[in-house]
Amino acid sequence: MAEFIPVANTRSASGVPTGKLALYWLLCSEIVIFGGVLASYLMHRLAHPEFGLQAAHTNVYAGTINTFVLLTSSLMAVLAHSAAEHGDGKKAAKYLWFTIAGALMFLCIKAAEWTSEIQHGYTITSSPFWSFYYTAAGIHASHVIAGALVMLWVIQSAKKNKYLYRVENVGLYWHFVDIVWIFLFPLLYIAK
């Protein structure tokens, strides 16, 4: 029996593989989601001087370590893509495992950070700053979880040297998640 190949992978009207094109449309919608949150935060940050005082209570060390973790996991994702381009699915799968490890580390640090903040009384209802903080970081964390789950699925075919283009697609998504955090980090942690 012939193996089923999704229609999305069998044509390319634009010159870009359809799966990759769809991924970029997804990223376009993500730009609107995260851009909306970041733009709203920026407007309020500029109009509310108290945001700076409240931002002083966020944990810069945790934010810095998490930025380092995400940058490193992005490196792992692009190394997986490089391996996939050379037809080495096993190596690509190995690098994707490292990327997932980065995602887990990020989530553990984030969980510890939130636990400490909530214990100190800074909850999502404490003030507009903390509402933005938990909303933006929470939406971002949900994308980290989604990316890690998709990577688990991609690894299953990559290690059999099948559908290696998926490695690039999930990597592109992961780099986008990294870029979002690159902007969230100074907004929520550094600018006091």
Partner: protein, 153 residues
């Protein structure tokens, strides 16, 4: 060659030349640069000079994002349609910001006053000062006091 393979072959042709410029060694070099930029972005604001904070925190965030897009996502060698797709999202955000910011960022207009925003500023400044802060409970107390005060017009 299947249509699928043809599509991906075409795509990789679009990346022609990037194979030599991009590779594991280069990716690791870019990662090292990103880590150095991260350290600068954390240390810069410690000087507590506004211009330095803006440049090191937000300027460097822009540079880091550019490096990830160019070197890791290879957007510099993608077809224009990818740029058009991403630009669509950015344009919508620009429209949103332009339409909403004038309302959100001003607390007073010719015939209106945003009293809730003013109260939030007063309560936040009272509770958010790290010098006398012992927890979020103070914020709620300050908020209650600000609400009890007469609205400013």
């Amino acid at each position: 060659m299947s249509a699928s393979h043809a599509a991906h072959h075409d795509d990789h042709d679009g990346h022609a030349g990037h194979g030599a410029a991009h590779g594991p060694a280069r990716y690791i070099k870019i990662w090292a640069v990103l880590c150095v930029l991260l350290v600068i972005s954390v240390l810069g604001p410690e000087l507590e000079i506004q211009v330095v904070t803006l440049l090191t925190a937000f300027g460097i965030a822009g540079v880091k994002a550019y490096l990830v897009m160019k070197e890791f996502m290879h957007l510099d060698v993608e077809k224009p349609i990818i740029w058009y797709i991403l630009a669509t999202g950015v344009v919508f955000i620009g429209m949103f910001f332009a339409a909403v910011s004038v309302d959100v960022m001003n607390h007073d207009g010719a015939r209106w006053s945003n009293d809730a925003a003013k109260r939030a500023v007063v309560a936040g400044l009272a509770a958010g000062d790290p010098a006398n802060h012992h927890g979020a409970a103070e914020h709620h107390e300050a908020e209650g006091a600000a609400e009890a005060a007469p609205a400013q017009h």
